[in-house]
Amino acid sequence: MSGGARFAWQRAVWELASLEVASLVIAGCSGNQSMFNPQGPAARSISSLGWTLLAICGVVYLLVMVAFFWALARRRLPSDDAPETTRALTRNVTLASIVTVLVLVVLSVASVVAGRGLTSPSGPGALQVEVTAHQWWWDFQYTDVTPSDYVTSPNELHIPVGVPVVLKVRSRDVIHSFWVPNLHGKRDLIPGQITHTWMQADRPGVYRGQCAEFCGHQHAHMAFVVVAEPMDEFRQWIAHQRQPASEPATDEERHGRDVFLQSTCVTCHTVRGTDAGSHVGPELTHVGSRLTVAAGTLPNTRGHLSGWIANPQAIKPGSRMPPNSLAAADLQAVLTYVRSLR
């Protein structure tokens, strides 16, 4: 290989690498589930702290690298051992140490100030939601009303825009961590310990959340969505969620409900308004209206739901839902029924 060709090849690799890094950085700044795309007051203060840290540490890093390479490249001079040089060096090192300490103090103060703003909500909480983490799904229960009006919305947290929502979080099995990067920082969920956090969204949108503490086989598929909507839409939503499941309208839906109630589904799931009342798995009273199935793993379409019911272990190996060997007609009927639960 000639020298010129090798040079061109190296340049191509270098360009490709910098393109990769640049695209990764840009992707991290703009998208959903990014702390650099804040959509609420808490996330904004986390994001500005992040940028501050990045800028200051970046400048420090550059200065240190410049000094390092300058020291490597510099030749020793005969005057280096002279007392004047040593004295100047002592002065410079002292100055640099003072600047370092000052920078660290500034960073600590910035961090404490940002942290103080995160611990308590920006105003009186409009709503309280109990968050329970399970291996590997999330349960959200709206508990600031009389218990008969409690609403459970697994893997989908609806919140009104512009008001703080207080979240009471806990875990049923192992340590999880609740994290919606666009709205707030992480909050660890320790079994046997109830903690609180809060979130506020400034504008309507769908934000993805994710378990941020390794919690077992399907930790990566333990996601949820936060749907932020205007207050009147939120009220409509929660009023609809308080309704029991809709009655099956067609023969196929009726058959599907019968299959549902006579098979293994009923042992774990709740459909309010029917005999199914178990709380081992997520509630299905309004499952047809949700955006995702299997804790944010798949979009909620008939095909995905069909695959999930028939063999969840092919989609999320190790998840708690067992394979269901239903006859084809029964499976289709169950699908129609479950999709009708809107």
């Binding site: 192992v174 293994t264 081992v280 190996p317 190790g318 067992p322 394979p323």
Partner: protein, 245 residues
């Protein structure tokens, strides 16, 4: 130098020059030789006035090298053990069809069988030696509210499961049948309500409560507060067939 850093016998290796002399005595690789020097040669020299090159040479020359060989063999054995330990990992049959379809081979509970000789029964249930399956059984035992009557195996409304007594048989097939078909005086039938693979997990856990499965597959702790001795610390019971709980 390595020897200097590691040696506790200060009397032996106070002089770097001596060690270097030693290296020049034998044409061998340094670490092995240090091993030899540390283990055997050093121990034999106790006097303060031991610095005698002639005596040193004779000692080193007379030293057989069996300890070197044993040391090397022990090291290789350790490495092999560590590597082999990574070879076998317990399988977690998440979608094992054989466990799910085990129901189709109906357990034989009567000594009478049509057509003469009856086929031999599999001695083990699918999860009897599987720690994951037993732990899943333990989780399901609470999730499906078996504890509601059997109270974590101690017995309440239903009979205890951690003692030696078995009313309807102690074999896996008997327990499977008890769960799926139910039994008189209160045990409900879970037919079509629990998938067969999970029933087999429950069977393995029920067996584990009285120590009927290998101890290394037993759960040692649960997800919740402890309510009794951990399964792997219980005494293995000798099953007794009885009509009374």
């Amino acid at each position: 130098m390595m020897c200097m850093a590691e040696s506790n016998h200060e009397d032996c290796f106070t002089d770097i020059k001596l060690t270097e002399d030693l290296f020049s005595l034998r044409d061998t690789t340094a670490p092995n030789f240090v091993f030899l020097a540390k283990t055997s040669w050093c121990g034999s020299v106790t006097s303060k006035h031991w610095f005698d090159p002639a005596r040193m040479r004779s000692l080193v020359a007379a030293q057989p090298r069996w300890d070197l060989r044993v040391g090397r063999q022990a090291f290789v054995a350790c490495v092999v053990c560590v590597l082999l330990a990574a070879c076998e990992r317990e399988m977690r049959p998440f979608q094992d069809v054989s466990a799910a379809s085990a129901r189709t081979q109906k357990p034989i509970l009567s000594p009478l069988s049509p057509g003469g000789e009856r086929p031999p029964e599999p001695p083990l249930s699918p999860f009897q030696q599987n720690a994951w399956g037993i732990a899943e059984g333990k989780r399901l035992f609470d999730a499906y509210n078996c504890s509601g009557c059997h109270a974590h195996g101690g017995g309440g409304m239903g009979p205890p499961l951690m003692d030696a007594k078995w009313i309807y048989g102690d074999r896996p097939a008997n327990i499977f049948e008890t769960i799926v078909e139910g039994r008189p005086n209160g045990m409900p039938s879970f037919r079509n309500k629990i998938p067969d693979s999970q029933v087999w997990q429950l069977v393995a856990y029920v067996q584990s409560m009285s120590g009927q499965v290998p101890i290394d597959a037993l759960p040692s702790r649960g997800d919740h507060m402890r309510y009794s001795t951990p399964e792997n610390a219980r005494r293995a019971e000798q099953p007794v067939q009885t009509g009374k709980p």
